[in-house]
């Protein structure tokens, strides 16, 4: 049941663009090495994805109140932002 729900949620988050941030693993309290290994690997993977765009969200002010299209504005300056912004 848990596997089903987590699989479903992973796919839905991926559809929304927040994919790859949810992982499920069954670890017993006696398997300490496995726990350390899994957590380290997952932390590295998350770090490679970059910071979570949700907390620093400033899009609400920019897109809704400015009439000219400013599509592609992200809270941090990055390559997608620079290349997609219309002139």
């Amino acid at each position: 049941m848990t596997v089903k729900r987590i699989t479903f949620l992973q796919e839905l988050l991926d559809f929304m663009g927040l994919g790859g941030r949810l992982h499920l693993e069954w670890i017993s309290s006696a398997e300490a090495q496995k726990f350390a290994r899994v957590v380290t690997q997952f932390t590295d993977r998350i770090r490679a994805l970059g910071p979570n765009p949700l907390p620093g969200w400033q899009l609400s002010n920019q897109l809704l109140f400015y009439p000219e299209p400013v599509a592609g504005v992200c809270p941090k300056e990055d390559s997608w932002n620079e290349s997609k912004r219309p002139v």
Binding site: M1, K4, R5, T7, F8, L9, E11, L12, L13, F15, M16, G17, L18, G19, S28, S29, A30, P53, W57, L59, S60, L63, L64, P69, V70, A71, G72, V73, C74, W80, K84, P86
Partner: protein, 277 residues
């Protein structure tokens, strides 16, 4: 509306096979839902299928909750029939007490043109195509975008939400008496937009295995969030991963824990090693 269909409804009411019939009737130029009672059979002449879609199934569910023994007949579009099936699977209604007058408005092999109020073209604005997600897109087009673009576009849509709860109020398969979207610890009051994207993702997860793709939620959204696209994706995941199609399958959806059997195989415990606590 054909004469035979009206005659059939009249017959059902007069013979006492149903207690009330829910259909549409014109009132001052508007097609409004109307409840036909057996004592006033001459009113059946005014029965029409209506150009606007109202949630007749939800109205019928409310009536059945007040009076559990009532037998209701209603105008059954394809979406209404799927909704009734879902409600029956989730034990909300007794399917023997509901009778539908079948209307074929969805496109079928015999009829390529649909007659649905939902399919009239909606002119979406310039900014929506540029910065958001258009309501008429396919799932493949959305999945063709990159991860960051998908995120920015969906967040543009979700943050327009004014938390009117229209999508939940009008949905024919939303039947919980205590909605988790009103829980104070989950979605608090007083904030607009409501905790994006949690509000919409929560609703999408609840709609998995239940959404019948009627489109009433998108018609009721004041800010045109592409809800139907999101719930269609949830149901596509259900179909691909769990092989469950909402509205056509008769068995319980895979997320309901009601009849799931869980077995734990006994494992040999080695006390000396200290494992298997």
């Amino acid at each position: 509306m054909e004469r035979e269909q009206k005659a059939r409804v009249k017959e059902w009411l007069e013979k006492g096979e149903i207690d009330v019939f829910l259909g549409y009737r014109m009132f001052q130029g508007h097609p409004l839902p109307y409840c036909f009672h057996p004592g006033r059979a001459h009113e059946i002449q005014g029965l029409t299928e209506g150009t606007a879609r109202y949630p007749l199934v939800k109205i019928a569910l409310g009536m059945a909750r007040r009076e559990p023994d009532i037998r209701i007949g209603l105008l059954g579009r394809d979406c209404d029939r799927r909704a009734l099936k879902i409600l029956a699977v989730w034990n909300q209604i007794d399917p023997n007490r509901f009778r539908t007058l079948d209307l074929n408005c969805c496109p079928s092999p015999l009829k390529t043109q649909a007659e649905c109020s939902y399919l009239s073209p909606v002119n979406s604005g310039f900014l929506k195509g540029l910065a958001g997600v258009e309501n008429s897109l396919d799932l493949d087009e959305v999945e063709g975008w990159g991860r960051e673009e998908r995120f920015v576009r969906w967040m543009h849509e979700f943050q327009k939400c004014i938390k009117c709860y229209g999508c939940r109020n009008i949905c024919p398969v939303c039947f919980c008496s205590e909605c988790s979207l009103e829980h104070p610890d989950f979605i608090g009051t007083g904030d607009l937009p409501p905790e994006v994207p949690l509000f919409h993702l929560a609703r999408a997860v609840h709609m998995a295995g239940r959404c019948i793709d009627c489109g009433l939620c998108e018609e009721a959204c004041p800010v045109d969030i592409p809800l139907r696209l999101l719930y269609r994706k949830a149901n596509e995941i259900m179909k691909r991963v769990f092989d469950y199609a909402a509205g056509t399958d008769d068995d319980k959806p895979p997320f309901s824990a009601l009849e799931e059997k869980v077995t734990l195989e006994p494992r040999k415990i080695d006390v000396a090693q200290g494992e298997g606590r």
